[in-house]
């Protein structure tokens, strides 16, 4: 039989009961046998012979003049205590007076009587043992049966949880075990399991919506390209000029597609973590990328405070992170008086990068969802130059991969500050030329196709 918990519990309860019962019986037996109870003996005093007999037994001892046939038919009452030298009258039915001739006969009678008493005693002890044994056996069976039932009832919630949990698949993750009302350990277990299911459902949902969004983003440029080509080919008045224009537009759509693929890959790589960490001089990287964006930064009031800071990490991912932050700050700025502030600093064991920009006031509840993939502000969905909504999720993924975090703080006067904290502060502010070269190499090998114009 399968060693189920119910079986084991029943064995345990039943076994404990049997042991306790047996112990009880044993103690009783031992006490009984060893004499807190008076041990009855027969003895003679004077002419009279006192033979105490146990309760409930009848004792009639008769003896004749010559032989001493002792017919032992025992009857009697509780043995009174006899004292030597006194003439006590034995209670009725206790003993019959024995008339006999000599001391020897009396002594042998006494011996015989004692033997009978012994025998009686051992018989009653044996029957005590037997009957107790039977009682114990019956009670043991009862307790095992009862134990089985009770164990089953106690464990019923576990069976319910098990069968419900079995039915939950990835398509039914919204279901819960729902063991409501129980306050005990099983209720706690069910509640914990439900919490796990909730987290799992959330994760599946995020993954599914990510996949749906990603496929949507990938299909959109393809749809446009197809429509452009088909409409151009169906044009009865197609000229070289119109076809050429169409080709250019298809190319533009193609590069949009490249950006999408690129951003998705960057996100995947960011989430996958760093392969080989190298020292990256962050302040130099920032300066380099700011210089790259000189044309876009025209007309924007720029303030930089770039303290020397080196991190250990992936140069390509870090370049991506900084680029996204810079592009966001440039694009989402206030139209009248745009400003951008960039700081790098080392605080303790962490390196901090802060990018702040002016603009509209951001409601506090938008701050967390900004980092989710494909999340854009509503206004930018129309128009030719659409952001992907992946910029900040890439920033966060890269920050986390580097043992840090990314945070967005809305500014009271309007605008936003993005703080990225990276762990693993590198060894001091030495300029390390190889790291800058590796950053430049990474940016020219085609993996990064220019600045990622992704919006929040």
């Amino acid at each position: 039989m399968r060693p189920t918990l119910r079986f084991r519990l029943t064995l345990l309860y039943g076994g404990c009961f049997i042991v306790a019962g047996a112990g009880l019986l044993g103690i009783t037996y031992a006490l009984f046998a060893n004499g807190t109870v008076q041990r009855p003996t027969a003895f003679a005093h004077g002419v009279q012979l006192s033979i105490p007999v146990p309760a409930g037994l009848k004792a009639i001892i008769a003896s004749g003049p010559r032989k001493l046939p002792v017919h032992t038919r025992l009857s009697g009452n509780p043995a009174p205590k006899a004292r030597l030298g006194t003439r006590t009258r034995p209670p009725a039915g206790f003993i019959q007076t024995v008339r006999s001739s000599g001391q020897k006969q009396i002594n042998s009678l006494v011996k015989r009587a004692n033997l009978v008493i012994q025998e009686q005693r051992s018989q009653s002890l044996t029957s005590l043992l037997t009957e107790s044994g039977i009682a114990l056996a019956i009670m043991a069976l009862l307790s095992i049966g009862l134990g089985w039932l009770l164990a089953g009832r106690a464990l019923a919630p576990l069976r319910v949880m098990n069968s419900r949990a079995r039915q939950i698949t990835e398509d039914t993750l919204h279901e819960r075990l729902g063991l409501d009302g129980r306050q005990d350990e099983l209720g706690e277990l069910a509640a914990t399991f439900d919490a796990v299911l909730a987290r799992l459902e959330q994760a599946f949902h995020s993954q599914r919506s990510f996949v749906a969004n990603a496929s949507h983003e990938l299909r959109t440029p393809v749809t446009l390209e197809r429509a452009l080509l088909e409409v151009a080919l169906a044009d009865p008045e197609a000229s070289v000029e119109s076809l050429r224009r169409t080709c250019e537009r298809v190319l533009a759509a193609g590069s949009q597609q490249e950006r999408v693929i690129d951003a998705l890959l960057a996100l995947a790589r960011g989430q996958a973590g760093i392969e080989a960490a190298q020292p990256v001089v962050l302040d130099e990287l920032v300066r380099h990328l700011i210089d790259d964006r000189a044309p876009q930064l025209e007309g924007i009031r720029l303030r930089t405070e770039l303290a020397p800071a080196t991190v250990s990490g992936d140069p390509a991912l870090l370049e991506r992170l900084v680029s996204n932050l810079l592009d966001n700050a440039i694009v989402h700025n206030s139209p009248e008086a745009p400003w951008v502030t960039i700081e790098t600093a080392v605080t303790g064991r962490r390196v901090e990068l802060r990018v702040a920009n002016g603009g509209a006031v951001v409601p506090a509840d938008r701050v967390t969802e900004m980092f989710e993939p494909f999340r854009r502000l509503e206004a930018e969905r129309t128009g030719v130059d659409r952001g992907l909504g992946l910029g900040l999720s890439i920033v966060r993924a890269v920050a986390v991969a580097h043992g840090g975090e990314a945070e967005a703080i809305p500014l009271d006067a309007g605008g936003l500050e993005l703080v990225v904290r990276l762990g693993l502060a590198g060894p001091g502010p030495e300029r390390q030329e190889p790291s800058l070269h590796s950053v430049l190499d990474a940016s020219t090998d085609g993996v990064l196709a220019g600045p990622d114009r992704s919006h929040r």
Binding site: R219, V222, T223, A227
Partner: protein
């Protein structure tokens, strides 16, 4: 035939509009869900091409609203979510047809035409009346077997007259059904087109003017 394209991707919407106009349809554009509903309430469209992911008001809600209101417009849903569940969901919302992206332009045109035929009352693909034979898919008109060369607008007006089956069609209705919202409503382009059409149809004249009301075939 008048079509509304509700699509927030402007370049795609414009490209589709160019292609559909070449097929003889009058095309209006809406860039978000609210604009799409507003347009659908102002004009009577034969077919509304609806992208699901629209800003301001989600395409699903637009479709549901249109389905609840009734109205003659048939809805063709377009979206990049092409899985079975999405198709089922879209059709369950009240869409009349569903086309996942990316799609072949020719298929889009064919489906739009098929949907517009189903506007009440249902029309056959080839209209015949008074010796005229009009094939809307192939854009061919024949009178007594001879092929006629009509312009896009003339074709549309003739299609309207034939679909009316002898009922009177007012110039306003013609303007609404065969021209898009970029047209000046006080123009006399309808009159001009009808007279050109009359000339091309030849003798005996088929189009009758009902004074103060409109035209009939």
């Amino acid at each position: 035939m008048r079509v509304l394209i509700a699509e927030d991707h402007l370049e795609l919407a414009e490209t589709l509009a160019i292609g559909l106009r070449r097929e003889g349809m009058a095309v209006d554009l809406a860039g978000d869900g609210q604009a799409a509903l507003a347009q659908a309430h102002i004009y009577e469209y034969d077919v509304i091409v609806l992208d699901r992911d629209l800003p301001k008001l989600h395409g699903d809600k637009v479709c549901r609203t249109l389905a609840d209101e009734g109205g003659r417009a048939r809805v063709l849903m377009l979206t990049a979510s092409g899985g079975i569940e999405d198709r089922v969901a879209g059709l369950s919302l009240g869409a009349d047809d569903y086309l996942p992206k990316p799609f072949a332009f020719a298929e889009l045109v064919a489906r739009i035409r098929a949907l517009s035929r189903r506007a009440q009352p249902a029309l056959p693909p080839v209209l015949e009346r008074e010796g005229l034979e009009l094939d809307s898919a192939q854009r061919i008109v024949r009178r007594d077997g001879h092929r006629l060369e009509l312009s896009v607008k003339e074709f549309s007006v003739l299609e309207l007259l034939m679909a009316a089956r002898g009922a009177v069609v007012s110039p306003e209705q013609m303007l609404e059904r065969a021209w898009d919202d970029a047209t000046d409503p006080f123009t006399n382009v309808v009159k001009v087109t009808v007279s050109r059409l009359r000339r091309k149809l030849g003798d005996p004249p088929l189009i009758e003017t009902v004074a103060g009301v409109g035209y009939r075939l």
